[in-house]
């Protein structure tokens, strides 16, 4: 049930409401899961997917049948890892070996884990992890290898991170540390998914030859989440903004949230946004390598949401007071635009880049750098979708362009006849329909004769007035 506040909001933003309705009514999934063929364990896996992921479950469930199950399991495995890592009630000596050996768990029949604290929201997933293991054993060996490999890398990365007690007291130190953290939790996901796509033949192998692209896909999403969640993470006593960035503006991390430090906090946030923004062109480049619609939507929708989120966070001091997010209507609009083709996603990126650029504050220490980052995104879009072609000089026309001209002339001629036929068709349709309507009316007993007589009388009255005034003129004339 929508809240009264949102009703008022959408009364004043009808285009956003329209987007919501459009998405709900007209969006057809590219592929739909066939529940009749699913085992109980697999059904349970999808249940957990819905439980644990708000944003990803919809796009995952529309994936191509080839990758639907592998990606679902991959997601659940990573979510399982995350649930172990995040839970502060598990002692380090229990936690570390599980994180480091999670890839082996995947092939241990009936493996479950029940030592999560009672407040851990995803604890049920680990308590019934045997269903994931059961399904994991059935997928193609190539997919298993990829998922295990990424699980191993990520588990070790997380274990290193939890061992490093310094993170708990000071958070992340340098920008390098920050990007390394994002690599473990998101860059690796990008790598795993890309390998799955390429293995399944749904993306070009070129994506594996330029690993920076898949890294940027993960980094962009993760960095945007970290920027947006600053307040929430602070309340939960977690710090992901690197000290290298915020210490340029304030002495203590907490000072970012003091109202009197508004300008400084905004400068720190715009530096964080700049770091993320520099990845945007890589993300578009990556999307160009995808060969299948459902995979494209799966990748593009979160990216569009991310750039829109950057825009709401940019130069917005609310960021330090509450969780800012894009509206439901904007989200639906973005989903519509991001489930078509690359050009439309590029338009989305260009639109939000310009919005960010417009808000760029001349007082900001990174003013010029942000401007350059925005320019870079626009230039990149221009390289993949040039809006201009070199002019052909009229003076030296090559034979090729003469042939081209003849073709254009022929096309123009054809277009002219198309128009004539179209006009004829319209006129004859109208005539036939009018005739039919009159005929039906006549059949139904319409008295055209009476109508005609009345029409004549009324016209006569109208004209009669005109005739009366006209009549004086000739008489006056005759007097002359």
């Amino acid at each position: 049930m929508p809240s009264p506040m949102s009703l008022i909001y959408y009364a004043f933003h009808p285009t956003e409401l329209r987007s919501i309705i459009q998405w709900k009514v007209w969006h057809n999934p590219v592929h739909e899961r066939d529940e009749s063929k699913e085992t109980d364990a697999l059904k349970r896996c999808f249940y957990f997917l819905d439980m644990t992921s708000r944003s990803f479950s919809a796009v995952i469930k529309e994936l191509h049948p080839e990758l639907l199950v592998p990606v679902t399991l991959f997601y659940l495995v990573l979510r399982g890892l995350d649930t172990v890592e995040d839970d502060m009630t598990i002692p380090l000596e229990t936690k570390e070996p599980i994180l480091r050996n999670f890839q082996d768990v995947l092939e241990q029949d009936g493996w479950t884990f029940t030592e999560n604290g009672p407040d851990e929201k995803d604890r049920q997933l680990l308590a019934e992890f045997n269903v994931v293991v059961e399904e994991f054993k059935k997928i193609k060996p190539a997919y298993k290898t990829i998922i295990k490999d990424i699980t191993k890398k990520m588990g070790n990365g997380m274990a290193d991170y939890v061992r490093n007690a310094e993170h708990d007291t000071n958070g992340v130190n340098t920008i390098k540390d920050y990007e390394l953290y994002c690599h473990y939790v998101a860059g690796l996901v990008g790598e795993g998914l890309t390998r799955l796509f390429v293995e399944g033949g749904l993306a070009t192998t070129e994506l594996l030859k330029r690993p920076v692209l898949m890294e940027s896909m993960g980094q962009f999403l993760q960095q945007v989440n970290i920027i947006r969640d600053i307040k929430e993470d602070h309340v939960d006593k977690r710090r992901f903004w690197p000290k290298e960035v915020w210490s340029k503006h304030v002495d203590k991390f907490e000072d970012l949230f003091q109202p009197e430090n508004k300008e400084k906090a905004l400068s720190a946030s715009s530096e964080m946004i700049l770091l993320a923004l520099n990845r945007a062109d890589d993300c578009l480049y990556y999307l160009a390598g995808i060969r299948e619609q459902s995979v494209f939507n799966f990748c593009a929708i979160p990216q569009s949401m991310a750039i829109a989120t950057l825009d709401v966070c940019f130069q917005n001091h609310e960021l330090f007071k509450r969780n800012v997010k894009i509206t439901k209507g904007e989200a639906c609009q973005l989903m519509i635009e991001s489930s078509q083709n690359l050009q439309m996603v590029c338009d989305v990126f260009k639109r939000y880049t310009r919005k960010i650029h417009q808000k760029n504050n001349p007082h900001d220490p990174n003013f010029l750098k942000i401007s350059i980052a925005c320019g870079k995104i626009e230039q990149f879009i221009e390289t993949i979708f040039p809006s201009q072609k070199p002019p052909v000089d009229a003076k030296h026309k090559s034979p090729a362009s003469l042939a081209e001209e003849a073709r254009l002339k022929k096309e123009a001629e054809e277009a002219k006849w198309d128009n004539i036929y179209m006009a004829l068709a319209v006129v004859s349709t109208i005539t036939v329909i009018t005739g039919l309507m009159l005929f039906i009316a006549w059949l139904a007993g319409a008295r055209f004769d009476v109508a005609f007589v009345q029409f004549k009388e009324q016209m006569g009255q109208l004209l009669g007035i005109g005739q009366a005034s006209n009549a004086t003129a000739p008489s006056g004339h005759s007097e002359l």
Partner: protein
């Protein structure tokens, strides 16, 4: 290996002197700097560089200097750039062509005569982009020249065509089309923008303010010249080719202005957007007014087109063929350049 002899025309100029420095740094060249002026007072000159005075319009002077220097490669940077109102008028066109095209022809002829193996010509993005009414977004070297409407763009296009037509297997030529240059000692770009502060022109934004433009830091362009020299000496893949050379960081004209003003401690306290159409009429009025009063104004119709259109290029070809990579990024370059001016102007005040 014996050092390779390189002669730089305009070698004491804004760009020329930076090219000389970049050549010194490369440590494998014997350098002659030819210029109509000796090194200006207060600028650095180098003991390892031979300075010669000659006018590119005087064939005999040139021939004498070249036959003494015997350069293997010539870098030709000499040009006149009409600024301000002159940029948009055809007045003085002959004089510009005389130096930019005639001078280039003289240098080409004398270089060949004296046995040079190649020539690198400092061209300009204006050979394509100075068709002022048109937007140029990320254009590359496949775009035709010869459509420029300004005297400068036309003269550079003619000279560039001449240079590239001189390319033969025993005399290799290439052209580097530089974007608007700025840097320390920059005679135009930064001083002009700085001048807007005192005249109170900084709050006004002309047009949409979303159009992107290219700039080039003088030292990066100097690096590109050294790369071009090396290419002509080694693989020769650049021979007969033109390359766009910029900082590869297109930004809006408005933002580059703000960046300069900020360096001088000025940020406009408010902003007023003047739509392109209105600006055009204002400019027309100003032009009439200045024509009657004989005073000078910043605003003119040509200038409005200059700042409200997209004018940026792709440097992919220079990256691929020359291995060019702008070493100093725009923010750092801006900081260094403005720092230089701040120092120079504060010293002038003390005197």
């Amino acid at each position: 290996m014996a050092p390779i002899k390189v002669l730089v025309t305009g070698g004491t100029g804004f760009l020329g002197s930076r090219i000389v420095e970049a050549l010194i740094e490369a440590k494998s060249f014997e350098i002659t700097a030819l210029d109509i002026n000796p090194p200006a007072l207060g600028t650095q000159s180098y003991p390892e560089v031979k300075y010669v005075r000659a006018n590119v319009l005087q064939q005999e002077e040139l021939r004498k200097a070249f036959s003494e220097a015997r350069p293997t490669i010539v870098i030709h940077t000499v040009a006149v750039i009409p600024l301000g109102d002159a940029r948009y008028s055809t007045k003085g066109k002959e004089a510009v062509f005389e130096v930019n095209v005639g001078g280039t022809r003289n240098v080409l002829n004398v270089s060949k005569e004296c046995g040079a193996k190649g020539l690198v010509y400092t061209s300009s993005v204006t050979v394509v982009l100075d068709e002022l009414e048109v937007d140029f977004k990320n254009v590359d070297e496949t775009w035709p020249t010869g459509r420029a409407t300004t005297t400068y763009g036309q003269s550079k296009a003619a000279a560039e065509a001449l240079v590239l037509s001189f390319n033969t297997s025993d005399f290799l030529t290439c052209a580097l089309r530089s974007a608007v240059l700025f840097g320390p000692q920059d005679p135009t770009c930064i001083p002009i923008l700085h001048g807007c502060i005192a005249r109170g022109e900084t709050p006004f934004i002309l047009g949409e303010g979303t159009n992107l433009q290219d700039y080039a830091y003088v030292c990066n362009v100097a690096d590109a010249h050294v790369l071009a020299v090396r290419n002509l000496l080694d693989s020769g893949t650049a021979a007969g080719e033109a390359f766009f050379i910029t900082n590869g960081e297109p930004v809006t004209a408005r933002d580059i202005c703000i960046a300069v003003w900020k360096e001088f401690g000025h940020v406009p306290s408010f902003q007023v957007r003047i739509p392109e159409g209105l600006a055009w009429w204002l400019a027309l009025g100003m032009e009439r007014l200045t024509w009657m009063t004989g005073s000078k104004s910043t605003l003119s119709r040509g200038m409005i087109l200059d700042v409200t259109k997209n004018r940026y290029v792709s440097i992919a070809k220079a990256r691929r063929v020359l291995g060019y990579e702008p070493k100093v990024s725009l923010p750092e370059a801006m900081r260094v350049s403005c720092e230089h001016f701040k120092q120079r102007w504060s010293e002038q005040e003390k005197r």
